[in-house]
C-alpha cells in the first residue's frame, strides 16, 4: 500500500489527466464493443424483413457511424494522453533521481555500486513507464473490454453468455501458462546473454594479453561454449513466445465453434419461455464477433501482469534512491576575505565506526603555507583531504577556517576557495577542451591551451585525432598519466586560492613531473597548498611536512629537520634511492 501511496506522489498535479485518460479508455472501448452489437441488430432486421419486405436500417448505420467517430476520437486522445502522462512522470522521476544522486552524501555514493545506481536512473525508470503507466492503461482497457463483452452478450442471450463464461477458464489457463513459460525462458536467455556480453567485453579488454600469449583458439572455444548454451535458451525462448498467437487462435476458434453451435441450436429450438424469443441470426453474428475477440484481452492482461510486477520492483528501487537522506549542509556563515587560517582541530574519524582512520589529528596552517602529507599506504592522507572538503564529517573535532568550524559555512562557499586534483582522476564525457575548462566555464580557447601547456598536456593532446576537440570520457583510451595531466590543467586554469594535490602526479613519469614543478611553483606562489605525495623528492621544498602512520602524526618538520631526526621519514626516503 505504501508503494501505491508513493506512486500517487508522482501523479501529483496529473491526477485530473489520469482520470481523464481512464475515461477516454472507457469510452473508446464502449464504442468499439457497441459496433458488433449494432451490426447484429441491423442484420437481424434484414433477416426479419424476409425476401420482400421493406428494410430501413439507417438508424443503425447512423449509430454505428457515431460510434466510429467517437471511438476513434477517444482512442486517439487516450493513446496520446497516456503517453504524455507517462513521459511527464518519467521526467519527474528521472530528475528527482539525478538530483538525489547529486545531493547524496559521498558515503552513500561510495557504498553503492555505481552500475546499480545507473541502472535505476536509466532502465528502471523505463520499466516503470512501460509497466506501471502503459501497463496500468492496458490492464484497465483489458478488464473493461471483457466486462463490456459480457454485458453485451448477456443483453443478446444469457445462455450463450453463460456458455462463454464457462469457457473463460480455458482462455485464462492458456494465457497464464504461456506467459509464465515466456517470462521464465526470456529471463534465462537474458541472463545468458549477459554472461556472453561480459565474456566478450573481457576478451576485448584483454586483447593484448590474448595476442601476446596466443590464447585466441582457447578463448574462442570458451566463447563457443557460452554461445552454445545461449543458443539452447534462445531456442526455448523463441519457441515459447511463438505459442502465443497460434494458441490464441486455437482458443478463439474453439469458443467460436462452440458458440456458433449453441447459437444455431437455440434458434432451431426456439424457447420463448426462456425469454429468448428475439434471439436470431443477427444476434448470433454479434455473438460470434465478440467470441472472435474474446481471448485478446486475456493475453494482454497476462502479459501486462508480469510487466507490472517488474515495474513495481523497479519503482521501489527508484524510490529508494529518491528517499535517501540528503547530505547535510546547514552552514550559514560566509568566508570573508579568503582563507586566512586553516586549522585542523583534534579530529578523529572512522568510515565505518569501527576502524579509526584519523586519530586526534591537530595542525595549524596559515595563508601561503605549503603543507605536505607523507606516509605509507592506508595511513589516512587522502582521508584528511576528504574531511577538509567535507566529503565526510569527522566524529570528533573539526577543520576550522578563520576560527570557525567548516560546518558553519555552506559547502559550496567552502569549496569555492579550494582547487584540487584528486588521486582518482575524473574526466566527463565531453571534449578535452570542455574538460579542462570545467572549473572556469567561460575560459577562452587560448586560456585552455595555455593551461594545457603549463600542465605539459599540450603535446599529447595534439597527437590525438581531434586535438582539443577530441571527445574523451573516464573510460576512454587515455593513460592514467595523461588523465592526471588533464586534471592538472583544469586546476592551472582555475588558479584557486587553496591548492590541494592528492597524489596528483602519481602516474606521471619523473621527467614530466620535473618539468611540471615550475608550473606548480607558479600556481602555488603565495597560496596555501596541501600536497599528498608518495615520491618524497617532490616535497623537498614544503614548509612543513607531516609524517603520518595509522592516522597519527608521528613526525613533523621541514625536510632537513626530518632527515636529521633519522627516523621513519629518513627510512622512507632512503628506500626510494635503492
Amino acid at each position: 500500500m505504501k508503494t501505491i501511496q508513493r506512486v500517487f506522489h508522482y501523479l501529483e498535479g496529473s491526477a485530473f489527466l489520469a482520470v481523464l485518460s481512464f475515461l477516454f479508455a472507457f469510452l473508446s472501448v464502449f464504442c468499439k464493443m457497441a459496433i458488433p452489437f449494432l451490426t447484429g441488430l441491423a442484420i437481424q432486421k434484414v433477416v426479419d424483413a424476409g425476401a420482400s419486405g421493406v428494410i430501413d436500417i439507417s438508424l443503425y448505420l447512423i449509430l454505428i457511424a457515431s460510434c466510429l467517430v467517437a471511438g476513434s476520437l477517444f482512442r486517439y486522445l487516450y493513446d496520446l494522453l497516456t503517453n504524455y502522462l507517462g513521459q511527464r512522470i518519467v521526467k519527474k522521476m528521472r530528475d528527482e533521481v539525478y538530483v538525489a544522486i547529486n545531493e547524496a552524501s559521498l558515503s552513500y555514493i561510495d557504498t553503492h555500486y555505481h552500475g546499480d545506481l545507473l541502472l535505476r536512473l536509466v532502465n528502471d525508470i523505463e520499466n516503470v513507464q512501460s509497466g506501471l503507466i502503459a501497463g496500468a492503461g492496458a490492464l484497465f482497457e483489458g478488464v473493461v473490454q471483457i466486462l463490456f463483452t459480457l454485458v453485451f452478450m448477456f443483453i443478446l442471450n444469457w445462455i450463450m453468455a453463460i456458455a462463454t463464461i464457462l469457457l473463460t477458464p480455458l482462455s485464462i489457463v492458456v494465457s497464464r501458462f504461456i506467459s509464465r513459460q515466456n517470462s521464465k525462458y526470456y529471463k534465462e536467455q537474458n541472463a545468458k546473454m549477459g554472461t556472453l556480453t561480459a565474456y566478450s567485453l573481457e576478451s576485448l579488454q584483454n586483447l593484448e594479453a590474448s595476442r601476446a600469449y596466443g590464447l585466441e583458439e582457447e578463448k574462442s572455444a570458451e566463447f563457443d561454449k557460452i554461445n552454445d548454451s545461449l543458443r539452447q535458451s534462445a531456442f526455448k525462448a523463441n519457441f515459447a513466445v511463438s505459442w502465443i498467437n497460434p494458441a490464441t487462435r486455437l482458443v478463439n476458434n474453439i469458443i467460436y465453434a462452440v458458440l456458433a453451435f449453441v447459437g444455431g441450436i437455440l434458434i432451431v429450438f426456439k424457447q420463448p419461455q426462456l425469454g429468448l424469443g428475439a434471439f436470431g441470426v443477427g444476434a448470433l453474428s454479434s455473438m460470434l464477433s465478440y467470441a472472435y475477440q474474446y481471448m485478446a484481452p486475456f493475453n494482454e492482461i497476462s502479459s501486462v501482469a508480469s510487466e507490472v510486477s517488474y515495474a513495481v520492483a523497479s519503482f521501489k528501487r527508484i524510490d529508494g534512491v529518491i528517499l535517501h537522506p540528503r547530505d547535510i549542509d546547514e552552514g550559514k556563515e560566509k568566508i570573508e576575505g579568503g582563507v586566512a587560517r586553516l586549522k585542523v582541530d583534534h579530529i578523529t574519524f572512522s568510515y565505518d565506526g569501527k576502524r579509526t582512520i584519523i586519530d586526534d589529528f591537530d595542525v595549524d596552517i596559515y595563508r601561503g603555507h605549503k603543507i605536505a602529507f607523507v606516509g605509507p599506504t592506508g595511513c589516512g592522507k587522502t582521508t584528511i583531504i576528504n574531511l577538509m572538503l567535507r566529503f565526510y564529517d569527522p566524529q570528533k573535532g573539526s577543520f576550522l577556517v578563520n576560527e570557525l568550524p567548516t560546518s558553519s559555512y555552506p559547502k559550496a562557499d567552502l569549496r569555492s576557495h579550494i582547487g584540487m586534483v584528486l588521486q582518482d582522476t575524473w574526466l566527463f564525457h565531453g571534449t578535452i577542451e570542455e574538460n579542462i575548462a570545467y572549473g572556469k566555464l567561460d575560459a577562452s580557447h587560448k586560456e585552455v591551451v595555455e593551461a594545457a601547456k603549463k600542465a605539459h598536456a599540450d603535446s599529447f593532446i595534439r597527437q590525438m585525432p581531434g586535438g582539443y576537440q577530441t571527445v574523451v570520457s573516464n573510460a576512454s583510451g587515455l593513460s592514467t598519466g595523461q588523465k592526471q595531466l588533464l586534471c592538472l590543467a583544469r586546476v592551472m586554469l582555475m588558479q584557486p586560492e587553496v591548492v590541494v594535490l592528492d597524489e596528483a602526479t602519481s602516474n606521471i613519469d619523473l621527467r614530466t613531473e620535473l618539468l611540471l614543478s615550475k608550473s606548480f611553483d607558479e600556481l602555488m606562489e603565495g597560496k596555501t597548498s596541501l600536497v599528498v605525495a608518495h615520491r618524497l623528492s617532490t616535497i623537498r621544498n614544503a614548509d612543513h611536512i607531516l609524517v603520518l602512520k595509522d592516522g597519527k602524526i608521528i613526525e613533523q618538520g621541514n625536510f632537513e629537520q626530518l632527515m636529521a631526526k633519522k627516523g621513519f621519514f629518513k627510512e622512507l626516503y632512503d628506500s626510494q634511492l635503492a
Binding site: 600469449y213 566463447f223 539452447q232 559550496a412 569549496r415 564525457h429 595534439r462 597527437q463
Partner: protein, 572 residues
C-alpha cells in the same frame, strides 16, 4: 580470402527457411474457411422455414470448424518450431563469426570501429538479426496470404464485397505504412537521448567528488534536466505519430462495415455474406498489424545487418605471414627497427624515424616521459601495429613474413595494462604454459614476489580472480602478470613499466630475480634506477631517440637522462 557477411551463416538452413512458410500457408487456408462455414450456418438459419430445421446442418459446419482449428494449430506449430530452431542456430553461427573476427582484426581496426560498438554487435545486433529471421519465417507467408486470401474470399462471396474489402485494406495499409515510415527516425532520436542521459548519470557517479569540489551540482542538474526534457520531447514526437495508428485503422474497418450493411439493407448482399465479410475485416486487420510488426523487425534487422557487414567485411590489417619457425641464434640480432615511424592518425606521430636493435642475450633499457613513445615501440615489436613508415625486422627478415604465433611465442610480455581474466590465480598465471610443474610455479611466484601475498590466501593459487582483477591492488596485479610471463618460459622478456606500482625495494628484488634467469630483456621504465644496469639504454623524447648508451655515458652526455636520474635520487 573468405568473405563472410551477416547473412552468410543462413545458407546452411535454406531448406528449412523455405519449408517453414509452406506449413504456415496450410493454417491460413484453414482460417479462411471459417467465415465461409459461418455463412453457411447463417444462410441456412435465415433461409429455411423454422418448422423444418435439421440440427445436423448446424453441427456439421461447427465440427469442421473445430477440426480446422486443431489441424491449423498443429501444422503451424511445426513452423514455429523450425523458426525458433533456425533463428537460434543462425545467431550462434553469427556470434561465432563475430568473435573470430575480433581476434583477427588489429587493435587499431577495433579502436577505429569502436569497442562499445563491437559489443553491441555481439549482443544487440545479433539479437535483432535472430528476431528478424524468426519473424521472417513465421510471418512472411502468413500475413500477406491472409490479406490476399481475405480479399479473394470476399470476391468469391460477392464482387461488391470484395471491392469493399480491397478498398478498406488498401487504405489501412497506407495508414500503417505511413506511420511506419515516420517512426524509425524518431526511435533513433529517442535512443540517442537515452544514451545521453546514461552518460550524464555515469559522469555524476564517477565524478561525485570533483563535481562537489568544483561546486558544479546545480550546473550538472541543469544540464540533466535539459537532457530529460529533450528525451520527453522526442518520445512525445513519436507518440504523436503512433497515436494515429489505432484510431485510423479502427475507423477504416468500421467504415467498411457500414458500407457492407448499407448494401445488405439495399438487398445487394445477403445477410450471411455480410457476416462473413465483417469477419474477414477483423482477420485481415490482425494480419495487417502483424505484417507491420514484421516489417519493423525486418527493418531493425536490416540496420543490424549493415553494421555487422561493415565489421565482418574488414580485412584484418595485421595478416599472418608464412614463416612458421623463428630460430633465435645465440648472440645474433633478434629485433631491428630501421627508420620506423608510427602514427595513430593525429597531427603528430607517436614514433618518428626510430632505429633500434635487440640482440639475443642483451639487456636493453628504454626510458622516457609520458607520451615519449615507449609503449608504441613495444606495439611494433609485438606487431600489434605495423609501422607506418620504415621496417621492423625479426631475425633479419621483415616481421610481416612470419606467422604471428611463430614469433609472439618467443616473447613474454608484461604490459602496462593489467590484463587479468576472471577465474583463479592459477588459471591466469598458467595461461601460456598450462603444464607448468608445481616447482616451476613456486619459483615464478617467488621471483615475481607474488608469493608473499598469494601464500596468504587460504586457497593459495586457487584464489579467485574477479573480472578485470578488481580484487587485487595495482602492485599485486603487476606481480601476477610478471609471474605469468616468467612461467611462459619464453626467451625474450619485455617489461613495459611493469613494476611501476611496486615500491623501490621490491622493484630491486624483482630485477635481481629476473637477472638470474638469463633472458633476453627489454625493459621500459620511467625509473632510471630500474634500468641503469642495462647493456644499452635508449632515451626517448616525444617519439624520437635522443640518446643511446650505457648509464655512465648517458649521465655525462644526455641532459634529459641526467635530469630524470637526478630528480629520482634527489642528489644535487
Amino acid at each position: 580470402m573468405k568473405q563472410t557477411r551477416a547473412l552468410g551463416p543462413l545458407k546452411k538452413y535454406s531448406v528449412k527457411v523455405v519449408l517453414a512458410p509452406l506449413f504456415k500457408i496450410f493454417e491460413c487456408v484453414c482460417e479462411l474457411f471459417v467465415p465461409i462455414l459461418v455463412k453457411q450456418v447463417i444462410d441456412y438459419l435465415s433461409a429455411t422455414d423454422s418448422s423444418s430445421y435439421d440440427w445436423m446442418e448446424i453441427l456439421r459446419p461447427c465440427l469442421i470448424m473445430l477440426a480446422l482449428a486443431f489441424a491449423g494449430f498443429g501444422v503451424t506449430m511445426v513452423t514455429q518450431y523450425l523458426a525458433a530452431r533456425v533463428s537460434a542456430d543462425y545467431a550462434y553461427d553469427l556470434k561465432k563469426e563475430l568473435y573470430r573476427q575480433i581476434n583477427e582484426l588489429s587493435d587499431e581496426q577495433i579502436d577505429r570501429f569502436g569497442r562499445s560498438k563491437v559489443i553491441t554487435l555481439v549482443n544487440n545486433d545479433s539479437f535483432s538479426l535472430q528476431t528478424g529471421v524468426n519473424m521472417f519465417m513465421r510471418l512472411l507467408a502468413r500475413s500477406p496470404f491472409l490479406l490476399i486470401g481475405s480479399v479473394v474470399a470476399s470476391f468469391l462471396l460477392s464482387p461488391l464485397a470484395g471491392a469493399i474489402v480491397l478498398g478498406v485494406l488498401l487504405a489501412s495499409s497506407f495508414v500503417v505504412f505511413l506511420v511506419m515510415a515516420l517512426t524509425p527516425k524518431r526511435y533513433a532520436a529517442i535512443q540517442a537521448e537515452l544514451d545521453h542521459i546514461s552518460t550524464l548519470g555515469e559522469d555524476a557517479l564517477s565524478g561525485a567528488r570533483p563535481i562537489r569540489a568544483f561546486n558544479k551540482q546545480d550546473y550538472e542538474i541543469k544540464k540533466f534536466k535539459e537532457a530529460s526534457s529533450a528525451y520527453q520531447k522526442k518520445t512525445m514526437a513519436l507518440a504523436k505519430v503512433n497515436a494515429w495508428l489505432n484510431p485510423l485503422t479502427f475507423a477504416l474497418i468500421n467504415l467498411g462495415v457500414i458500407l457492407v450493411l448499407f448494401l445488405t439493407g439495399n438487398r445487394d448482399m445477403g445477410a450471411g455474406t455480410a457476416v462473413a465479410v465483417v469477419n474477414y475485416f477483423t482477420q485481415a486487420l490482425t494480419a495487417l498489424i502483424m505484417f507491420s510488426r514484421l516489417v519493423t523487425s525486418l527493418s531493425k534487422a536490416y540496420a543490424s545487418k549493415k553494421r555487422v557487414d561493415s565489421f565482418l567485411s574488414l580485412t584484418p590489417s595485421i595478416m599472418s605471414g608464412d614463416i612458421q619457425e623463428a630460430a633465435i641464434k645465440k648472440g645474433e640480432t633478434i629485433f631491428e627497427l630501421k627508420n620506423a615511424s608510427l602514427t595513430y592518425g593525429g597531427e603528430d606521430a607517436a614514433l618518428q624515424h626510430i632505429d633500434f636493435s635487440l640482440k639475443e642475450g642483451e639487456r636493453i633499457g628504454v626510458i622516457g616521459g609520458t607520451g615519449s613513445g615507449k609503449s608504441s615501440l613495444i606495439a611494433l615489436l609485438e606487431r600489434f601495429y605495423d609501422a607506418s613508415e620504415g621496417e621492423v625486422l625479426f631475425c633479419g627478415k621483415p616481421i610481416q613474413d612470419y606467422d604471428l604465433g611463430a614469433y609472439r611465442k618467443k616473447i613474454a610480455l608484461v604490459s602496462q595494462k593489467p590484463q587479468l581474466y576472471k577465474g583463479t590465480i592459477r588459471s591466469n598465471i598458467l595461461l601460456a604454459n598450462p603444464d607448468a610443474s608445481e616447482e616451476e610455479i613456486e619459483a615464478a611466484l617467488k621471483d615475481s614476489l607474488a608469493y608473499e601475498f598469494v601464500s596468504r590466501y587460504e586457497e593459495g593459487i586457487d584464489h579467485e580472480v574477479e573480472e578485470g582483477g578488481t580484487n587485487f591492488s595495482g602492485g599485486q596485479k603487476q606481480r601476477l602478470l610478471l609471474c605469468r610471463a616468467l612461467l611462459s618460459n619464453r626467451p625474450i622478456l619485455i617489461l613495459d613499466d611493469a613494476t611501476s606500482a611496486l615500491d623501490y625495494k621490491s622493484d630491486l628484488a624483482v630485477r635481481e630475480n629476473i637477472a638470474r634467469r638469463n633472458l633476453t630483456l627489454l625493459m621500459v621504465s620511467q625509473r632510471a634506477t630500474s634500468i641503469k644496469n642495462c647493456d644499452r639504454i635508449y632515451v626517448l623524447d616525444q617519439g624520437k631517440v635522443v640518446a643511446i648508451g650505457k648509464h655512465e655515458e648517458l649521465l655525462k652526455e644526455c641532459a634529459i637522462y641526467r635530469e630524470i636520474y637526478e630528480t629520482q635520487v634527489a642528489v644535487k
